[in-house]
Subunit: 423 residues, 2 copies
Amino acid sequence: MRIEVICTGDEVLTGKIVNTNFSYITQKLEDVGLAVQWETTVGDDRENLLLAFRLAGQRADAVIVNGGLGPTIDDLSQEIAAQAAGVGLALNEEWLRTMEEFFRRRSRVMPPNNKKQAMLPTTAEVIDNPIGTACGFALDIGRARFFFTPGVPRELKRMLEEQIIPRLLAKSGLQTAIHLKRFHSYGLGESHVDALLTDVDKLVPDGSVKLGFRAHYPQLETKLTVRGRDMDDVRVKLAPVEREVRKRLGNFIMAEDEQTLEGVILSALTARQGSLAVVETFTSGQIAARFAHQPGAEKVFRRGVVARDLGEIFAAVGLDGDPPEGELTRETAEAVAQAARRRTGASHALAVLIALDDGPDRIDFGGTICLAIATADGAESRRSRILGGREWVRLGATEMGLDCLRRYLQGLPVAERIDFEKT
Amino acid sequence: MRIEVICTGDEVLTGKIVNTNFSYITQKLEDVGLAVQWETTVGDDRENLLLAFRLAGQRADAVIVNGGLGPTIDDLSQEIAAQAAGVGLALNEEWLRTMEEFFRRRSRVMPPNNKKQAMLPTTAEVIDNPIGTACGFALDIGRARFFFTPGVPRELKRMLEEQIIPRLLAKSGLQTAIHLKRFHSYGLGESHVDALLTDVDKLVPDGSVKLGFRAHYPQLETKLTVRGRDMDDVRVKLAPVEREVRKRLGNFIMAEDEQTLEGVILSALTARQGSLAVVETFTSGQIAARFAHQPGAEKVFRRGVVARDLGEIFAAVGLDGDPPEGELTRETAEAVAQAARRRTGASHALAVLIALDDGPDRIDFGGTICLAIATADGAESRRSRILGGREWVRLGATEMGLDCLRRYLQGLPVAERIDFEKT
């Protein structure tokens, strides 16, 4: 089945906004085993819209159109859809009532120009939008089934997942029970994980498990898409593969599915009624910023200290004397973490200290990271070196600090060699 | 002149990466007065690439193609370009030598598969890539001039700005002296600024100054694109408009052109040999993270303190006793900033305290912000309330804290009513 996507709107075409709706749509389709072949972006322009609809209608079996369903004069999708399909527009009384009710529930009166959103091509099948006034719809243009969706991301997401993907799966004849299992890891590159997981999908011989990746440094997402007759069948197929992925990636899996690394740490600390102090240098507050704003973190996050100068760090955590001369060491990081814990009374303290290379930013600019985690039982630490420019070092050190804390809380070795460090 | 863009590559088509190259290209073209009419994304697929090239070659005057110039087997741009143009491929000896030299300078031997990058359509005009091995080129397909660019963002940027935009401007017949002047502001919404700047572009009656905006909450970018015979002409035209924008937006302009808010603050503090301490609550380290990592900030940033609990803040800055009961006040923020300054010895201290609403995140979730800036001369403070969900409050408070510090350092009133706050 050939699927195309058409994105509309001057804001996307001129780059005022980055087209994240498209990457969202195509990822979601990939996740259920459907592939997008072609994407077109055009502005709020009658001639280009009509041509885009006609060309896609000649080539594709299914087309998802995003945007242009709003109430303003530059929202043209219904009008041009009708023109391309060779039909007229008519007021959909039911959608008009839905909209009026939408405004009434918000104690507002519907502005007259919203009526335009209920003008649909006469052959359109309405696709519900439970959270907005833009009416989704489907109709045939050329040889393709077109699905029209709103530009507002949360409305698009809901409509795509609940209404359009099931229709596409039915049309494609694919089995409709589908599940996406995700693992989040830090420290191993995509090609390394790919090699580690060789043939893991072959554990289910019928090809219904597909392995994929999405890298966004410093994290990597490993995805298993599983298809089956029904959800029971999916679970049976997924179980051995999931088990094998956990075995092979082991300690590197820091979160699964909707979990985040910082959320996993928050849960682990909350469960043991723990609390956290954080000390940072070049990461500059980024570690605290990942953790402390989370709902529930107000009960766990005790204190964060940021300074670029090690002497200032010593003063802030109440360590007497000057920092030792010479290279940054794990011992210094341990002393800082212990002192931070004592000073704040937190059950856990994480200190991430960084000695940056000299000179201007460049591709081989690096930083030496000494980090430590302290509790009443003592301290654990690691030393690492990351190259790749200032921002790369900062992102990597932030992730490494949080991941070592996660490892510590889960009783795993804090230091394990990763692909991003140099020795 | 009709311009189209074709983005190629499975990673973009499947959404593994968000297509920021396209928004970059189209913005850059907008900035010099050129408009993109149509964008197409296709994968690393011979049939779709050929069709995309042919269709664009029928419709457009100029086409920018991005990606597919690499050394691997799925990089197809040269091959399909030659096919679409009806010409052959030939080894470009000069580019081969350029690549060999590229590797030699890095003390490496060129891998054999890189030779593919020097195979160009016989009618191609080489477009230099001074920082990579992907050779840019231009040739005619159908009625359009095609420009082929690398997918690596920094290589694309350099080639677009130095090589392709001048060629497009020459082809379009537009005057080629063009300048983009940018103002960055915080606190006024796009429609408000648009109203404030009504007819500012009319100060130059010949239409050669164009006003535009780019909103990325909480900042707004106001852009003036000026065209002229030469740069002297551009400067003459820009001067009165620039003056008027500064007059009308006044204290709200926090940075211009390549400047950033945090960079402006760093320069102002560096110039007076000042130093900075920051105290944060719900912003969770985000204020420190914006500032303290900058090159040069190691000399200026003294210390950051983060806590979610006001009692913990008091302890961290050395204030005796418990925080006052009841509503958060400006006086408390002033006391915290003063104490932070005393404790750290910094010349300036910024305290941004936030009382969050209760309950789960929602669209009207809000926070009350009390912030203060303290120096040896005393303290200034402001109180504000921002609604719009947890993340909106966090971003807004971070920006407000930094912008008030900027205002203080520039001798401007710290508190001026902004569009994002409720009273």
